[in-house]
Amino acid sequence: MSEMLGKLAYYMEFPFVRYALIVGVLIALCSSLFGATLVLKRFSFIGDGLAHVAFGAMAIAAVLNFTNEMVVILPITVVCAILLLRTGQNTIIKGDAAIAMISVGALAFGYLIMNLFSTSSNLTGDVCSTLFGSTSILTLTTKEVWLSVILSVVVVIFFIVYYNRIFSLTFDENFAKATGMKVELYNLLTAIVIAVIIVLAMNLVGSLLISALVIFPALSAMRIFRSFKSVILFSAGISVVCALVGMLISILAGTPVGSTIVAVDVAAFLICYFIGRARN
């Protein structure tokens, strides 16, 4: 035990480890907030679709040699988020197919572009780390850390201020519309915020695993809790705890960060599932 703590203390001396922990916790918090809404509105796969789009955008940014890849990734992902949530509003099947189409399309083109134009000597490694986020969380620059912190704060404030409207929109869009709420505007804002979260989360778990970060905490919370507020609070809490535990395990055991966090999320879900069943 003391050996583990010693090892941990040793790693904590490195600023990049501290950065990774801070950013990881913030990302876990943000991504869990909208999880319940997406799961309940049957949009679980939107995270996956957008993450693949972000992967494609990243490939383009890499090929064009942008020093700050965010400049390319963020706008492309936001536009796709708006398009996807738009089509999904009325017809679920159409939205579903649109997500599948855009996500695999972007994935294929991203890899193709990287293959054709990349100057990197370790292409497979690059692709792997983008898809599974193996090292990017540990190589954050101070600028990226600040960007993540600011964006996270904005997301959390947005969520708190619009919490009641988000509830209405999730529970009953028709009623919200009938009482004069500007539903399209709020859907648009939500789409943009979700895109921002996805782009942030890409650093932590890579683009293939983002959905897990969004939906697992919400699904876990929904096993146990029966009011919207408690579902949101618990999913935020469990998401942060899982991210922390996952990152610490990966530091100590040398496992890849993203997949370790997701594995912890899955374990938490199973625990919640059995607690929920035992209660009924």
């Binding site: 309940l40 009953d172 519309k177 009938a178 009482t179």
Partner: protein, 236 residues
């Protein structure tokens, strides 16, 4: 006193006209049932009254202090709601959001209003329960309480008894009638024309033949006789 006056409405989407030349009015305290065959434009008319679909032509006039957004709306249940993790109180409170201007949080008045309407609907003891654990009838009461939070004067109910068993259906109709007796104007869309005729004060029948008028006239009219006979026969 007139609350809603519709003049020469033409309803439809884009290029497709569903209904033309619709004239009717709703007075304070009326109980109007909108009936008609499937596809006759009932839900389009409802969306038009709610201000979600603009009429292709014609006009809707609102009485004093009323507008499309000041109508309490009871929509049909959606798939999403059936397993929604939300407490009864949270849902009823969400009816308090149609105030002018932006407010992020509920005020104490809103909470009192929600409490009052939960008591009115006889669901005060369920306020902490989860919506998905309630029976169909209880869920409808929750949504009615929410509608009452958003508007006190006019309620628009879209097929409020769909999927309820006969006993609960009767309770629901009685509940709606008691609200009407308290002075709330009721506009109800229904496919159950027998029940509509029993409770309503006015009938608006849309479709190939259009009828608008008091209930007794409808029963004597040709459209009414034909439709009542057909529907009554169809249910056996």
């Amino acid at each position: 006193m007139a609350q809603i006056i519709c003049r020469d409405l033409t309803l439809g989407y884009d290029n497709e006209v569903i209904l033309t030349g619709l004239d009717f009015r709703v007075d304070e305290g009326d109980y109007l049932c909108i009936v008609g065959e499937n596809g006759s434009g009932k839900s389009t008319l409802m969306k038009t009254i709610l201000g979600l679909t603009p009429p292709l032509s014609g006009s809707i006039e609102w009485g004093e202090g009323l507008s499309a957004h000041a109508i309490g709306y009871l929509p049909q249940q959606t798939l999403v709601q059936r397993d929604f993790p939300a407490s009864v109180r949270e849902i009823v409170l969400s009816g308090c959001q149609n105030r002018p201007g932006f407010r992020a949080f509920y005020k104490p008045e809103d909470r009192q209003k929600a409490e009052r309407n939960m008591e009115r609907m006889g669901i005060a003891d369920l306020s902490k329960r989860c919506y998905r654990d309630l029976s169909g009838g209880q869920q409808q009461r929750v949504l009615l309480a929410r509608a009452l939070c958003s508007a006190e004067k006019v309620l628009l109910l879209d097929e409020p008894v769909t999927g309820l068993d006969p006993k609960i259906t009767q309770e629901m109709y009685e509940l709606i009638r008691s609200l009407n007796e308290e002075g709330i104007t009721i506009i109800m869309i229904s496919h159950d024309v027998d029940e509509a005729v029993r409770y309503a004060s006015h009938i608006l029948h849309i479709g190939k033949h259009v009828f608008f008028g008091p209930r007794d006239e409808y029963i004597r009219s040709d459209v009414g006789k034909y439709f009542l006979m057909q529907e009554g026969g169809g249910e056996e």
